[in-house]
Subunit: 305 residues, 2 copies
């Protein structure tokens, strides 16, 4: 039950023959999340062998076409594939009206519920939670209302150290859950056996932050601090910083600065302007500030944590 | 100035790794028409080296996703590429509302005019005309309002036979246009010189009919009679005729029957159900009725006429 990230597409604005607009597939604790859905995402999902039926939650950062124009087709395909389970779509206010209008005019009868979670807050909020995973918004600063998303495994239960536990006859099976949750054991004679003796550390909880599209925004640092992997857009190199500011985007240097200040484990860049054919210039610039920076590889699945 | 057809995609319903939904590019007398625009069409256009700036007229048969979900992205790309010239979109009533809603919510400012020509008539009508080409609707019978389109070169001017003309001193340059348009020459002594002596036949005018999606519908035969090439959908084989009727589609046998009764030059099938992996079964069935039947080849450009 590890966490895996598959970047389905990462280019900006116009789809080309060899690159697809933004979309990512995140598998965390057996939950399957789709993040953004540019045109052609469903074909990229097929190439990456993502099972359509596994996707129950889709997170859309913002309503520019290169991040959402694949959504109507994907939902229509879900229906054609006989889906019955509800689909949850998280995205900016307006996404429901857009999708409802499209489906009404194209007479796309879905046969399953689409539950829209429309977002309009300017502060980070928890928008998804279950027993093992939680998802928070990361308010970004783009030309249009835009959120990144933080995906975080909840703290895991401690592992029982059965060899140690066996030494204490008083500890019974009904006590195990308390031990797993980190509590000390108190004997009948009120002796305390510290939890650290009876259990071992769990596997660390993994976190992933997705940040596209945004100007340089230091406000996000407290939200994404210490994440294992940060995806941060870097549409331009820093010699086009004015262009980046004007269009609401970041430079590779800025993405790396955010990564460094937030003390993340690894930085993946993306959303590059089509003007760059050799993308190594992006990592060259970013690594001056944050060495553990990488380019995305479309359709490659990487383990997080 | 010949006529060329490039089929960009021809599968039905769900895009797959190796096939794209319906879209065609027709070049007729230096006009450049896009017909239908399923998801991913703009990438198929790039693969086929279609110049985006050449497209001024898009014809959408019907508002099912596999025929129109590529349209918002294509128009957005036109804008990003700096388009200034107006774009004409022909399609069923509702297309303007759908596109306007999408562009309003995604804040896609176009920078050029999009002129919608919304269709709702149940009889064939001429919807486009210029000096050399005309386009007519072909009302079809699908689950939703749907038109095919007939593209026809206008009759061309006759060629001057200069060797013969030189024999008649009375014929001057100012008479040439009358001769090209087929008129006889009347001498001063009222002798008539027949046009057939002074000119030769022009290149025949070419016509192409696109018919997708539809049940078997004999009413279309007078509209498409004698076209050089007919594209007619054949979603199913005839052993699934009930399924074809129920879903508003045709079988290969039915497409061939239409082609035969309309005396067309060549039939291209398409819009196949994903259940068929070996598509030769489609031509095997159709050729029993209409031998000059072919499968489409994605991205291949064929000369018409």
């Amino acid at each position: 039950m590890s966490t895996y990230l598959t970047i389905l597409g990462f280019n900006s604005a116009i789809p080309t023959i060899n690159s697809s607009p933004t979309a990512q597939f995140l598998e965390m604790e057996e939950r399957h999340f789709l993040i953004d859905c540019g045109e052609g995402t469903q074909v990229q999902m097929r190439k990456a062998k993502v099972r359509f039926s596994k996707i129950n939650h889709i997170f859309i950062s913002h309503l520019h076409g290169d991040h959402c124009f694949g959504l109507p087709g994907l939902v229509a395909s879900f229906r054609l594939l006989g889906r019955k389970t509800p689909l949850h779509i998280y995205g900016p206010k307006g996404i429901k009206k857009m999708m409802d209008t499209i489906f009404e005019i194209t007479e796309t009868y879905k046969g399953f519920d689409v539950v829209y979670h429309e977002l309009d807050k300017k502060v980070s909020e928890k928008i998804y939670e279950d027993k093992r995973v939680e998802v928070f918004t990361i308010p970004l600063n783009h030309r249009i209302y835009c959120n990144g998303y933080l995906f975080r495994e909840k703290p895991k239960e401690r592992h029982l150290n059965m060899k140690e536990i066996a030494r204490y006859k008083e500890i019974e099976i009904c006590d195990f859950q308390n031990l797993r949750s980190g509590k000390d054991f108190i004997c009948e004679d009120e002796t305390i056996i510290e939890n650290a003796i009876l259990t071992t550390d769990p596997k660390p909880s993994v976190s992933y932050a997705f940040c596209s599209d945004t100007k340089y925004k230091e406000d996000i640092i407290p939200i994404i601090r210490n994440v294992d992997v940060l995806y941060h857009e870097s549409t331009f190199l820093n010699n086009l910083k004015e262009m980046a500011d004007y269009t609401g985007h970041s430079t590779a240097l800025e993405a790396a600065t955010i990564a460094k200040k937030a003390n993340v484990g690894k930085l993946i860049l993306g959303h590059f302007s089509n003007r760059y054919s050799d993308l190594s210039v992006m990592t060259d610039e970013a690594r001056q500030v944050f060495p553990n920076t990488f380019l995305p590889k479309a359709l490659e699945t990487v383990k997080i944590g």
